[in-house]
């Protein structure tokens, strides 16, 4: 598994403000594998600068997967722009369970890992009502 990790390029987590750094630090705390992600923020960047910086990061890291937070957000739109000419996969609406599943399955192809990450991440968002509700 360590050999697979060594060979695999990191994935990029691109999100608003400090969210990406926070998610990656949580992955590191839980699994010790935070270095499998590169965090990037959109703070202070125009749409064009965001795309430019993301392209440079994909180029530098060889990343095949870009996780973004908000579907209609600037991070997501910047990542979508790469789909036209780069071999990358964009996963929108990232959450911690999705990243944890992704990082702990380095044996999967990027497409499989991204797909499974979404399948695992989505149902973790749920409402739980307390028993004292209405008292």
């Amino acid at each position: 598994m360590s050999e697979q990790l060594d060979k695999a390029p990191p994935a990029i987590v691109l999100a608003h403000a400090q969210l990406a750094a926070g998610l990656v630090s949580a992955v590191e705390q839980i699994t010790g594998m935070g270095s499998r992600f590169v965090a990037m923020s959109n703070t202070g960047l125009s749409g064009a600068e965001l795309e430019q910086k993301l392209r440079a990061l994909v180029e530098a890291t060889g990343a095949k997967v870009v996780f973004t937070d908000l579907p209609a957000g600037s991070c997501n739109i910047a990542a979508f722009r790469l789909l036209r000419d780069r071999d990358v996969i964009v996963v929108s609406g990232v959450n911690l369970p999705a990243l944890l599943h992704f990082v702990t399955h380095p044996n999967l192809s990027p497409e499989e890992a991204a797909t499974e990450a979404v399948e695992r991440g989505v149902p973790t968002l749920k409402v739980t009502l307390g028993t004292a509700r209405g008292n």
Partner: protein, 167 residues
């Protein structure tokens, strides 16, 4: 309801627009005025991809927007009109004098020839003059990235009194 916000934002459609402004407004439609985007199916598809399905997005060049502005303003739903730069909004405002009463500066980011006015607003000398000219024509110009922040009038912005803070 019509178009309630005329916003200049170089990110065009993004989180602050869809969620920050859109949710409290009960946004029904967006108009994106940009000559380049209006001529590119790919760009339009890109901006539509992340937008909630219940929200209509209309794309128009300045010339098309000039013809359709009254129609959009008869829409019973609240809408936002976006341009990515000052020049586009000025061209539209000049073409439709007295229709556009107020312009929101939502985000114009750093560039080598721009000076920082707010953390989300950088302007060149030419852009400042264009905004002043817009005000001389009766259009109120304020900076405000999200509804929770205090609107900063252009005059305060240029005098360096643009400190931000929650309203």
């Amino acid at each position: 309801m019509a178009i309630e916000l005329y916003r200049i934002d170089d990110r065009l459609i993004h989180g602050q627009v869809i969620v920050g402004w859109g949710q409290p407004m009960g946004l029904g439609f967006l108009v994106l005025v940009d000559d380049e985007v209006a001529s590119s199916d790919w760009e339009q598809e890109l901006y539509r991809m992340g937008v909630p399905p219940e929200l209509d997005v209309f794309f128009a060049s300045v010339a098309e927007a000039t013809l359709k502005l009254e129609e959009w303003n008869r829409d019973k739903r609240p809408g936002i009109l976006l341009t990515s730069d000052i020049d586009t909004m000025v061209r539209l405002a000049v073409a439709k004098q007295s229709t556009i009463r107020a312009v929101n500066l939502g985000g114009i980011h750093h560039r080598a020839d721009r000076v920082e006015r707010l953390r989300y607003l950088y302007l060149t000398g030419g852009e400042v003059r264009a905004l002043q000219e817009l005000e001389h024509q009766g259009v109120e110009v304020t900076a405000r990235d999200v509804p929770a922040s205090r609107p900063v009038p252009l005059s305060a912005l240029l005098e360096g009194h643009g400190e931000e803070g929650a309203a």
